[in-house]
């Protein structure tokens, strides 16, 4: 870049040939006789700011040419907070493309880059994927600064650390690792940072990318990082000594490490009184078990062990299944796949149609299938219970895991009956105990036994009893209370 404006401008025009949204606006600096130009991207830069604080200020200068120096412009003319200098065109063009405005003035060999980026951010709304009856209605949005502000606003200011890292080779995105300095295990923070730094990909679209790139075992059906759009959930996790990862452009924050029991917990467990919280939690464990094993148990009892069910039930099942042309496995597969399709279809449909479609699909197809003798009514009950149970799991990603997994024991049951189901269960347990999330055993706090962590596991003990942070996270500061 030289100090000749016209040369610079032609150079700039040459460089931005393919960017039709770049605007170059030449103007005169008041009555001083000097000329300048601003370069910005239409739509990304804040027009209001440019008009009011840049153009207006510059065009109304009333000093002579000699006194217009760079410092004069920076310090006395431009009333904007973010201002840097760039010595070459190649240096400022990328910034302009992100929303900044470049100011070139005749006679200056440097351009001033003014931060005028204006991101249109969504309002803070209630998170759709994690609705609660009781609890804050705030959810993250797509703007990183809004999200960090939500965490900051929560109060734990002095020790809440945000570590900023840019990820993505081409599209650089801001990513923030949040933790509480005097609680989180430094080794854990370091491990998270190390894994985030190792991310080597040209573009990080969503935090799901990050999740998949930093998880321990890509072959596992279980999510090893928790994703949430609830700030209260993140805060609670941070207070326990976990680490959160926020990414610009997505409302989903990641929490690590995660354990299996966390997937079945909901913030509401803590907001409601402890008895209700405990019962709900037990209910969810039960639901998880049902959604995983019921179809498999159906297959194994029907096809292998008529002697293990009550006589009356056996007789009514026989009565119900007379005329069904398929084996129990095929029958169950048909209905399970059908209900998955229904769920998927209902999800994508516009909101007013969704529920109607669910009813039509669930009731009418089920009823018709029974009437037509394709499936037995008992199976319809089994499938319905399974589906409802899988929706009772508060974490969407955990729900998917279980729904996916439940097909495996069905095949095991078809091969080995209940023996197959037991082997599947053992295999699953073996997998879970081998799995680790950021160094924390996935099955904790169940195993290895950590009695103090059990207060917040199957049961949610009364608040006054939960004085300790989870032991499994090796926090710096164990106590939750003053005393």
């Amino acid at each position: 870049m030289n100090d000749n404006l016209l040369e610079n401008l032609s150079l700039i025009q040459e460089k931005t040939k393919y960017y039709s949204d770049v605007v170059v606006r030449p103007f005169a600096l008041g009555d001083s006789g000097k000329a300048g130009a601003i370069i910005f991207v239409n739509g990304l830069a804040d027009r209001e700011l440019i008009d009011q604080h840049i153009l207006k200020a510059l065009m109304s200068i009333h000093v002579d040419q000699a006194s217009i120096t760079k410092n004069y412009i920076k310090n006395q003319v431009l009333s904007v907070s973010q201002l840097t200098e760039a010595s070459s065109i190649d240096e400022f063009i990328p910034k302009v493309l992100l929303g900044s405005t470049a100011l070139v003035i005749d006679g200056f060999s440097e351009a001033l880059v003014i931060g005028t980026a204006k991101v249109k951010s969504r309002n803070i709304e209630e998170p759709i994927s994690e609705a609660l009856v009781r609890g804050p209605r705030a959810g993250f949005n797509e703007t990183l600064s809004d999200n960090t502000a939500l965490l900051r606003r929560h109060g734990e200011n002095a020790s809440l650390a945000f570590m900023s890292i840019q990820v993505g080779e081409r599209a650089k995105k801001d990513l923030i690792i949040a933790y509480i300095m005097d609680i989180a295990d430094p080794d854990l923070v370091e491990e998270v940072r190390r894994r985030v730094l190792k991310i080597d990909i040209d573009n990080v679209m969503e935090s799901g990318y990050v999740e998949q790139l930093i998880e321990d075992n890509y072959l596992s059906p279980f999510p090893q990082v928790q994703s949430t759009e609830r700030p209260d959930r993140v805060i609670a996790a941070l207070m326990e000594g976990r680490v959160a990862i926020l990414l610009d452009g997505t409302p989903f924050a990641l929490i690590a490490p995660v354990t299996f029991s966390m997937l079945l917990q909901s913030p509401e467990d803590y907001y409601e009184r402890w008895m209700a919280g405990t019962l709900l939690r037990l209910l969810r464990f039960f639901a998880a078990l049902i959604s995983l094993l019921t179809p498999a148990m159906y297959v194994s009892f029907i096809s292998f062990h008529p002697g293990l069910i009550p006589t009356k039930l056996a007789i009514s099942i026989v009565g119900a299944r007379v005329g069904v042309p398929f084996t129990s496995l095929v029958e169950a597969l048909i209905m399970e796949v059908a209900i998955e399709i229904l769920r998927e279809a209902g999800l994508r449909l516009p909101k007013p149609i969704g529920p109607a479609m669910g009813i039509v699909g669930g009731l009418i197809i089920g009823e018709a299938a029974v009437q037509a003798g394709i499936v037995s009514p008992i199976l319809v009950i089994v499938v319905a219970i399974t589906a409802i149970s899988s929706f009772a799991i508060p974490q969407y990603s955990a729900g998917i895991s279980l729904r996916m997994l439940r097909f495996v024991p069905m095949f095991c049951a078809a091969a080995f009956g209940m023996y197959g189901v037991i082997l599947f269960f053992l295999m699953l347990c073996a997998h879970v105990v081998k799995l680790k999330s950021f160094g924390v055993p996935y099955a904790s706090p169940a195993v290895p036994y950590r009695l103090s962590d059990w207060k917040d596991f199957f049961f949610r003990m009364p608040m006054f009893m939960m004085k300790q942070r989870p032991e499994m996270l090796h926090t710096k500061n164990q106590k939750r209370k003053r005393n």
Partner: protein, 364 residues
């Protein structure tokens, strides 16, 4: 060298492993085995005494292992007895553990094919089982311990529940008279219960992996005590419901107890499915740990990679499990194992302990 720091287990985990190893085939056959030998309803006393002996043996072994921290029996054998004799004893232990693994698998096959999968070839049952177990074992002792920690509470809760249901057919008269024919039948019943308590010897290996080896005595006592209590409950309930005469002719008396009552109206009504579930899990744990112990021993004896040991020995165990021609041979095989255990577990560790003390004494 093998016992790297990451693969350490807690005291509770050691106790759980001992417990899980003990609870195996014995749960289903103990009442008959004991009743056959004693012939009186006092077999529960035999079990109690047998348990005490097992705990005593466990303590000896724990003390022995404690004095060689970080080393398994296969390793300190060598330093105590020299390369050849030590190696021989290690080999005996290894073979013993292998036989035990084979026995467990075979018992599993028998029960499964009788009550769950009539007609399925045994190789299919065994192979699926061995693969699931191998998957766990490749993770090392820590995941094994963690899985056992899941299995044991499940077992205890479900088992107690099922046994409690059996109260509906329990008759106290079946357990009387107490000591009607003196103490001799009780003593006669002690030895056959030995097979049910083999497994304490695992502490010889576990101690090397414990975070606090000093607490190995505690681990073995607690672990064995849990099993003794469960066995006691089993024997009392089974004899109490089916009586000594009714038990003698049944192959799997505990299963028969559970099959002997129905509680209509409860979802299950029939509880043998629950019992079979936890029993298969128990066999799984017993098999896993004995197989792991054997492989570990072999790898330490011959200085080869543990993982390759785990894979290479699968066919061996499979063949062992196929040797017994019928159930009687299988049970005889079990008795043989029990008798071997008495020497291996009772005598050798005691001798080793004396040797250790003597060596330490002479050194100091």
């Amino acid at each position: 060298m093998i016992n790297n720091n990451t693969d350490q287990i807690t005291t509770a985990q050691a106790a759980v492993i001992v417990s899980n190893f003990l609870l195996g085939t014995g749960v289903l056959t103990l009442p008959r085995v004991a009743a056959e030998a004693a012939g009186t309803p006092d077999v529960w006393l035999s079990v109690l005494i047998g348990g005490m002996i097992a705990i005593a043996a466990g303590i000896i072994m724990a003390v022995l292992s404690k004095s060689h921290p970080g080393l398994t029996v296969f390793q300190y054998n060598k330093s105590l007895l020299g390369k050849w004799i030590g190696g021989l004893i290690s080999a005996a232990f290894i073979i013993y553990f292998f036989m035990l693994a084979g026995y467990q698998v075979r018992a599993l096959t028998e029960v499964t094919s009788l009550f769950l999968l009539e007609g399925t070839p045994s190789w299919a049952i065994i192979i699926a089982f061995m693969w699931v177990s191998l998957y766990l074992m490749t993770g090392g002792l820590n995941p094994i311990a963690r899985l056992f920690e899941i299995i044991l509470p499940l077992t205890i809760v479900i088992y107690l529940f099922v046994m409690f249901m059996g109260f509906s057919i329990f008759e106290l008269d079946n357990l009387r008279p107490v000591l009607g024919q003196g103490f001799m039948p009780v003593l006669a019943g002690v030895k056959p219960t030995a097979l049910s308590f083999i497994g304490v010897e695992i502490i010889l290996i576990l101690t090397a992996f414990m975070k606090q080896p000093a607490k190995s005595v505690k681990a073995v006592v607690y672990g064995t005590a849990i099993t003794v209590i469960l066995y006691l409950i089993t024997v009392i309930m089974v004899i109490g419901a089916l009586s000594v005469d009714g038990v003698l002719t049944r192959t799997w008396p505990t299963l028969d107890l559970v099959r002997s009552f129905e509680l209509p109206g409860l979802i299950f009504e029939r509880f043998e499915s629950l019992l079979l579930v936890i029993w298969i899990m128990q066999i799984y744990s017993s098999y896993t740990i004995s197989y792991y112990a054997a492989s570990l021993g072999l790898s330490q004896l011959l200085n080869i990679n543990l993982t390759s040991c785990l894979f290479a020995l699968l066919p061996v165990v499979y063949i062992i499990s196929n040797i017994p021609k019928n159930l009687d041979v299988l049970f005889a095989f079990g008795d043989l194992l029990g008798n071997t255990a008495i020497y291996l577990v009772g005598c050798i560790p005691f001798a080793l302990l004396l040797l250790t003390k003597w060596k330490k004494g002479s050194r100091g």
